[in-house]
């Protein structure tokens, strides 16, 4: 196996972040399985871990591990792109431990203290921000996130300022600054629920369908430049056009959340038209990835990273694009709003777009951080298996939830008279919920396979680099 040394020593802080991210990912999936089972065995773990607590842990871990993955990616990518050492590696290390400790304390708070007590202990009466979906964090955690984010952005921005400025770093920086800026709306909680919901979406939608897409584009472009050797000029043009489409459609696409929460009726038109176009940037991303891989000027030894990157583009299109589109037009959303269809879309979109891009980055960077250009062939084979097992597991879950959603709408929403009640409908969906749990178990197996790939060494026959390996499976 060809050895590789880091171009810049300070890139090594990324390793810490990647390991932390993967550990939290495992936690997220364990709690996800618990939730899937609670759908079927309603009193499972009650009252020790009620559904709402497990769900908070599941979704908050998702957000934290993805943010940690983004940060690690930035620490790896920015020095290399800027061609200079990180402004302060020490600050990056300190922030990691602060972030991890604060995250762990918050999760323990959810699990050990009743939520109302937690709210009271942490000053929620001074500035009420808790108890809103995904923004359940206590006030000190929210303030901590802001402090960590600002210090991180300072570190990254200073590095870019003193070095070379590329399209990738500029787009990444815009995405990260936008992410931090939109998070400030998590402190806005008007007593009017309608207004509260509108500003809440400024964080939630403008993250995942706005600023995060810039980060996604930048990370994908970076992995593709490195693994295909295609000209930067070509990749830069694609990157700009993709993120242009992402923001052009995504900003007014916020309107698809404004249909039925008490905002004016014109949002039904604005939201329908612009969110119908939201698959376009994801479709372009798929074209981009395949196009770059076809035009590749070298066979990079790390074919697993190429698979994750292409997989990210394809699954992102399916999850965020296609599964979003099926319920995004307001006459359709009138029936699907708040049903299991939303859950199906949410799972595939987060997995396809953000989970896979972070893993693509980890897959590319981690071998180099461990002192080799790519992992041994056997390890890569296991890693590629893990991609397929996780992706098929996710597909099973998403199809099951889609089936559950369609039946739910049919029984509970469509009838104008004699519609079935919520809990009676849920009883009819048990088959789909069991299939979802099966998909979740498969996903966990895929994740464990992925973890195992880190511990696989080279085979006896393998002392030459896999540089001539052909692109498989992708």
């Amino acid at each position: 196996m060809k050895t590789a040394t880091l171009k810049f020593k300070s890139q090594s802080v990324a390793k810490l972040y990647f390991m932390g991210a993967i550990a939290l990912f495992v936690g997220q999936i364990v709690f996800g399985l618990t939730l899937g089972l609670q759908y079927l065995i309603g009193d499972l773990m009650f009252p020790a871990i009620p559904f709402n607590i497990a769900r908070m842990v599941h979704t908050n871990l998702l957000i934290v591990w993805l943010l940690m993955g983004f940060m690690g990616s930035a620490y790896y990518l920015v020095p290399e792109e800027a061609e200079t050492e990180l402004y302060s590696p020490l600050l990056a290390k300190i922030l990691f431990w602060v972030f991890l400790a604060a995250g762990a304390a918050t999760i323990l708070g959810y699990l050990l203290v009743p939520y109302a007590t937690l709210a009271e202990m942490t000053g929620n009466n001074l500035l009420a921000t808790m108890g809103r979906e995904f923004l359940e964090q206590p006030l000190p955690t929210k303030l901590g996130i802001v402090v960590v984010a600002l210090a991180f952005l300072f570190n990254i921005s200073m590095t870019v300022l003193k070095g070379r400025k590329t399209a990738i770093t500029l787009v990444l920086l815009m995405g990260l600054w936008g992410l931090a800026l939109m998070f400030l709306f998590s402190f806005v909680n008007p007593s009017n629920l309608v207004r509260d919901k509108m500003y809440w979406w400024f964080v939630v939608h403008l993250w995942v369908e706005g600023t995060w897409e810039l980060i996604l584009g930048a990370l994908l472009a970076f992995v593709l430049i490195k693994t295909t050797g295609v000209d930067r000029e070509v990749i830069d043009k694609w990157l700009y056009l993709i993120i242009t489409m992402a923001l052009v459609t995504g900003i007014l696409g916020t309107g698809h959340h404004f249909f039925f929460i008490g905002l004016p009726g014109y949002w039904q038109w604005v939201g329908s038209v612009f969110s119908a176009m939201e698959p376009i940037p994801f479709f372009m991303m798929t074209l981009f990835a395949f196009n770059m891989v076809q035009r590749r000027k070298r066979e990079h030894p790390n074919q697993a990273a190429v698979l994750w990157a292409v997989g990210c583009a394809v699954m992102g299109f399916l999850g965020a694009g296609l599964w979003g589109f099926i319920h995004t037009l307001s006459p359709v959303n009138y029936y699907t709003h708040g049903s299991q269809i939303t859950a199906a879309h949410g799972h595939l979109a987060f997995y396809g777009a953000y989970v896979l891009v972070v893993i693509a980055m980890i897959s590319y960077a981690m071998p180099i951080l461990r002192g080799r250009e790519a992992n041994p062939r056997r390890a890569q084979a296991v890693e590629m298996w893990s991609f397929w097992i996780m992706t098929i597991g996710m597909a099973v879950m998403v199809l099951a939830l889609t089936g559950a959603g369609i039946l739910q709408i049919w029984l509970q929403r469509m009838p104008t008279e004699g519609a079935m009640g919520f809990m009676a409908t849920q009883d009819q969906l048990r088959f789909f919920y069991w299939v979802r749990v099966a998909g979740g178990v498969l996903f966990l197996c895929g994740l464990l396979t992925y973890l195992a790939s880190f511990f696989i060494g080279a085979g006896a026959d393998e002392d030459e680099p896999v540089a001539n390996g052909r692109l498989r499976a992708a």
Binding site: E133, V194, F260, G421
Partner: protein, 141 residues
Amino acid sequence: MSRGFTSQMARNIFYGGSLFFVLLFAVLIFDTEQRIPQRSKSAEITPAVVRGKHIWETRNCIGCHTLLGEGAYFAPELGNVYTRRGPDFIKAWIKAQPTGAPGRRQMPNFHLDDKQLDDLVEFLKWTNGVDTEKWPPNIEG
């Protein structure tokens, strides 16, 4: 992509296009803000409604229920529960939790006193009055 099209041009399209849509979004939000009071009947937000919202949030009700279609999908929609069940049922139901029926989804008991229950009901009553463009399609939510 054609040779004449440079990455500088692509970058300028990005800046111009994004800025235009950010401004357009800001204009729409400004207009929406003006209409929220009438659409949500904000004049009817009493101190009890505000306290009720606080209870709703600090018990993390959204972690199981949906409210106007947003939240978790584990328990019923509560945006229209005021017309579906009425105030007395809501209070009695909350007090009777958890049901303890084996295998059934359980709701914790939050030990709310009568005043807190009234506040929560006031919040749900006000929410029920929001103009949601006739959503949900039927009483079952």
